[in-house]
Symmetry: C2
Subunit: 385 residues, 2 copies
């Protein structure tokens, strides 16, 4: 059954499951971040979410907690037990039994979940396993928007083989990301910079252009309240491997060489990549070059192969522009600082359509979030597909 | 007494007076838009606001209404009557008695107002007149921010001899006001364009550059629900009087030639201005030229002389930039549409500081309002003085 009328209590428990799922966004690797609530006579006896790295799954965590709950131990009545999950439980066995089987083994009356798993190994099979065991299964569309936001990286990766891509921009009131001399610290305020930390924590990887590394020497690590989270893999686009000429970079001290992949072009001679001891410990990947740009599809395959479902693109203008040019982006988050800057300063985007393009040719985006941080603004714009 | 504790009812009546004042912003010419409430035993018996054109004043309107109120006619007890005004009543007599005297003649117990009139003919004298007649006068600072917003044009004009200046910009997400070919219709949505009508109605005059007239041939009139409001005087900046070469303009059909003033440079030979019959009915004003720009102080003197306390600057980039360059602006209202446009498209600002200016040299503005209109954004930024 889909979209059956469900009770107020059911909604409440689904919302709690969703909140649990949200907590580990960006931490579960290739796996979706899922939340699970188990109730006995409408009392919560188990809570779980996908653990960092992707396992154990949310259902296993919740079952483990429920099994030890005094109420469950005292009067275990299968017809009183409901399970609320943000995604259909998996049907595939790896090292442990599938979540669908684990639920059957635990013994429950009803399972309500928010979305079918697009993974071909599950996709309705989780439901079948449970229904065959006599469990009532309900899929509902409530909280679809919120849950899609939690699952967007996983869903896009399953659907297209590409990560969900967020361009993150910090600009002046008039769309400039740095002065003519490249000075950009700080165009936005400290609250926005904390929000960038949150964005990094919610993504699985960070992509940045060589020019931004040159101009800003950024650390790209997780700081402040996100310090305990493992740093994300970094992908540096560097068509001609010019970065090799640099001294030590802040990124290596803060994120570590093992986390960094430099993506360069196939035609580059091997001796260029081998010449610099500097690169010891840093992976170098090669993709084709088209005109002056690295092939974006090939880049994103590499990113996906690394288990990145959500990719944060931190700039600069040349990199953001290639995403606009190829249309391979999903959303743009713009932090607008409270300065106006010279018109000849550095713009966030270069040209991505022909010079004679009409106004109607340029893409319309959808504004999905508008936040104010003192004198700064954070706006999230979604690409219309 | 200033900032005395006033009652909850007093606050309520002051807020109502403020709402009345707000209604006629942009309609009262050189005069401030003021609101007035008269109560008898805390029952409202008179309401008034400054009438279009600036007279009668709010107090006179409220007294007139109160005089005819049945309650006032039945049991007129001076000690029960209070007056609430958003500005100190005027002390200067023109054709009619001053508002201060009118209040004395009407007979009241107490007058509470929100601000001292900076006009030297009043400035405390209104209060004196009333106090001498035994009326208790209270000036309070509550609603100071809201009232300053209503009075900002009047206050700035009195303080500096210059109008309060709002730069109004419609731009893409990345700060572009038109494509490279000058196409700008429409970068923002219809809700934003309605808000522009509101802005026009709240201002006393509109200033625009010749380039914008060339590119957009705008109507610049008041439309839709603002249709009944008299159109505002238009000031066109045209350094070399190039506009004379144009055919008929939409502005003349919609606003009328008598409302239009073209501001050009002093050194221009007389025969250039006389040559074109086209200008019949249009005033031409001349100011000095400094380097490539018309002298902004002289322009604003002309604007002020026309009774404009609030000036809306509708563009384009060259004009907005001269306001940034001279620092002679008070706020920027930016409507952000939901498009991203090529980097080489037309920017809202050109350079206004030297090319080697540091990030810290550029002005920080204060965000005072952030509104969402479907997929568009309206942000108001105030210049820090």
């Amino acid at each position: 059954m889909i979209d059956t009328n469900i009770s107020k209590d059911d909604k409440k428990f689904l919302k709690l499951a969703l909140n649990l799922a949200r907590r580990n966004v960006g931490l579960t690797g290739k796996n979706p971040s899922v939340g699970c609530i188990i109730t006995l006579k409408d009392i919560i006896i188990g809570r779980g979410n996908t653990q960092p790295g992707g396992r154990p799954h949310a259902e296993i965590m919740a079952i483990k907690q429920a099994s030890n709950h005094p109420l469950f131990r005292a009067k275990r009545e299968i017809q009183d037990i409901n399970v609320y999950i943000t995604l259909e439980p998996c049907a595939h066995e790896t090292t442990s039994p599938s979540c669908a089987k684990a639920i059957v083994n635990f013994g429950v009356n009803r399972v309500i979940y928010l979305a079918t798993d697009p993974d071909q190994r599950t996709n309705g099979k989780g439901k079948s396993i449970m229904e065959k065991a006599g469990i009532e299964c309900i899929e509902t569309r409530i909280y679809e928007r919120e849950n899609s936001d939690v699952l967007k990286g996983y869903l896009k990766q399953k659907k297209t083989g590409l990560p969900y891509i967020t361009l993150k921009i910090g600009s002046s009131i008039n769309g400039k990301i740095a002065t003519k001399n490249g000075e950009s610290k700080w165009i936005t305020n400290s609250l926005c910079r904390k929000r960038v930390q949150l964005l990094r924590s919610e993504n699985d990887g960070i992509l940045i252009g060589k020019n931004s590394i040159f101009a800003d020497n950024p650390r790209l690590n997780l700081r402040d309240q996100y310090e305990s989270i493992e740093n994300k893999p970094i992908f540096i686009l560097d068509t001609n491997l010019e970065i090799s000429g640099l001294g030590n970079l802040a990124i290596f001290d803060n994120v570590g060489k093992d986390k960094v992949r430099i993506i360069t072009n196939k035609d580059l001679k091997d001796n260029v990549t081998k010449r610099h001891k500097f690169f010891k410990g840093v992976s170098i990947e090669k993709v084709s070059k088209e005109q002056r740009f690295l092939n974006m599809q090939e880049i994103l395959k590499i990113v996906s192969r690394m288990g990145v479902n959500r990719l944060l693109v931190e700039g600069g203008a040349r990199v953001w522009t290639s995403f606009l040019k190829t249309g391979l982006f999903d959303e743009i988050v713009i932090f607008t600082g409270n300065k106006v800057i010279n018109g000849s300063a550095i713009s966030c985007f270069n040209d991505f359509l022909p010079l004679d393009a009409r106004l109607g040719d340029f893409p319309n985006l959808t504004l999905t979030s508008l936040l104010r941080w003192k004198d700064n603004i954070e706006a999230k714009w979604i690409a219309n597909s």
